[in-house]
């Protein structure tokens, strides 16, 4: 059984985001990069499947720039067998990323049985790479999964829908699954695992190696800006009963002229 896990490297949740001077992207130089937290559930699920099927092979795939600390390494340290990195800029659109992932998976020569990904990347929050990838590969996909069971080639997954209800799907492999928090508890990479990770195979490709070019871009970013700062709230002192009428008048006036809500 061949399991693939798509991993993205995203800015740490505590990062202060600054757009570049020309607004074409964000400053990446001083960012601390982490594995996208939802992808950790995907890696863990792959390893749980491998535990139940010792012959299974787990390959982690990432598209993006080379980083100071490589997110594929912790995935290997957790127990994945091999890794592939498609070197690319960090501002690719979802379509190009999906196409690059497809290309990298095909490069391995292994026919995928299960492809796992996080339900979304916490940087651009696009929530569509797994679905585009599934479409490109002609495979079924289920997203936001919080439960997974496997019986031979049949997979039963639970997905969360609005209001806390669960939908249950039975799908046949090969399948693309996008994982949500609650699916499992990701293990930590261990230090001995980290040492072993260094010796595991890691393939590196360029975008052209995997058949992706600028022409594949469907979304062009035209400007990154920080949201406007919220102005400080206004306080009105209405403790003095005699002034209350006056204060109410001021508030109503401002709601009309400034906030324009009434």
């Amino acid at each position: 059984m061949n399991i693939f896990v798509c991993v993205k490297q995203v800015p740490d949740t505590e990062t202060k985001i600054t757009p570049t001077g020309d607004g074409s992207f964000i400053e990446t130089a001083s960012i601390k990069w982490i594995m996208n937290p939802y992808d950790e559930f995907a890696v863990e699920q792959a390893l749980l499947i491998k535990q139940a099927n010792p012959a299974a092979n787990v390959t982690v795939v990432r598209v993006g720039s080379k980083k100071d600390t490589e997110a594929l390494i912790p995935a290997l340290a957790m127990g994945a067998d091999e890794a592939a990195l498609v070197e690319a800029g960090d501002n690719l659109d979802s379509y190009s990323i999906a196409k690059a992932l497809k290309g990298a998976i095909e490069k391995t020569g292994k026919k995928p049985d299960i492809i796992l990904a996080g339900k979304q990347a916490i940087d651009d929050d696009c929530l569509q790479v797994p679905q585009i990838l599934a479409e490109m590969l002609g495979l079924p996909s289920v997203s936001v999964i919080v439960g997974f069971e496997m019986n031979g080639a049949a997979v039963k997954v639970k997905r969360e829908v609005e209001g806390g209800a669960l939908e249950v799907y039975e799908v046949s492999t090969p399948v693309v699954l996008a994982c949500n928090k609650g699916l499992n508890t990701p293990r930590y990479p261990s230090l001995p695992g980290l040492m072993k990770a260094k010796k595991k195979p890691m393939a590196t490709y360029s975008l052209s190696d995997v058949g992706v070019s600028e022409a594949d871009r469907r979304v062009k970013y035209s400007g990154f800006r920080l949201p406007p700062e919220k102005p400080a709230g206004k306080k009105f002192d209405a403790t003095d009963a005699a002034k209350q009428k006056d204060v109410v008048g001021q508030v109503v006036g401002l709601l009309r002229t400034e906030a324009k809500v009434i």
Partner: protein, 378 residues
Amino acid sequence: MDFSLSAEQREIRELALKFAKNEMIPHAQEYDEHGKFPTEIFKKAWELGLINACIPAEYGGAGFSAIDGVIIGEALAYGCMGMNTSFMANDLALLPIVIGGSDEQKKRFLTPFTQEFKIASFCLTEPGNGSDAGGIKTQIKDGGDHWIVNGEKMWITNAGYADLFVVYGTIDPNLKHKGISAVVVDPKTPGIEIGKKEDKMGHRSSDTRGIRFNNVKVPKENMLGKPGDGWNIAMSTLDHSRPLVASSALGGAQRAMDLSVHYAKERNQFGVPLAKHQAIQFMIAEMGMKIEAARLLVYKSAWLCDQGIRNTEIASYAKAFASDSCMQITTDAVQIYGGYGYSKEYPVEKLMRDAKLIQIYEGTSQIQRLVMAREILK
């Protein structure tokens, strides 16, 4: 000269910090308040390979360098200085075996620590001898086919939970330093009485007790080196362990600084964030400066260890500077938090209590200065 960590060291640090943030910080306050020993967290850290960094690869360890060890130590102390004292005590106890043990002893004592979660204690200090470790009175007598240990130890970390003790004693008090010897003792041996847990100011989750040895029989093959080798083993152990203890002060100081920076940006007084007041800025600048300098000393003292170059002087600089800085930085963190800093609802008062111990154990800040002066003036 290259000041950067290797990719592998950066990954080790990330992993250890992730553990500290997810598994230690959320529980630190509770364990402190109830003086609860962190068995589960300790075990989990062991499973991830964060404990016993000093065990060489030949005996089943990961084969970390001293620099790797201080990187891990700093990260775990960032999580909780108190829990880290218990974790670190394993290294302090196993180092004399790494340094002074025979190949057979290393296999017998170190390898089990890599196969199973085990806890160790380093037993040097006595009620009447702390700084003056050369004057210890615990007796190790030749009983024919075994050693007989009699005496009392004090302030022994992990004593109530340990699977192994390394005990320092003397074969003859008249020999002074030359009589000091070290033996590995099974804590379950008859004649060992373990005292009650000390109720401490800080590091309350770590377990600290006195131990009494009443005619305790220890196998002959458990002595590290020859009778009288103990002092040299203890001194080389300190050269390795002081960078590690210094790294724990560094981790605590870094946490105090990160909290202070965060709080100073959030809290407004006089219509602006505290961070806009120059008096606060200066305290934060001082924190950054001291931490950077301490880190350079800690790394250098560990690096010298890895190069096999005598580091006694630099290791004392590192231990004293990092622990004194940690005390100052955690005190200033409480100051920056104002009244809130004085409350147990906020994390900085614990840091201030925890910082104090690092100026005391593994050689007080005064003893470090004695060592420095001796090295400089010799």
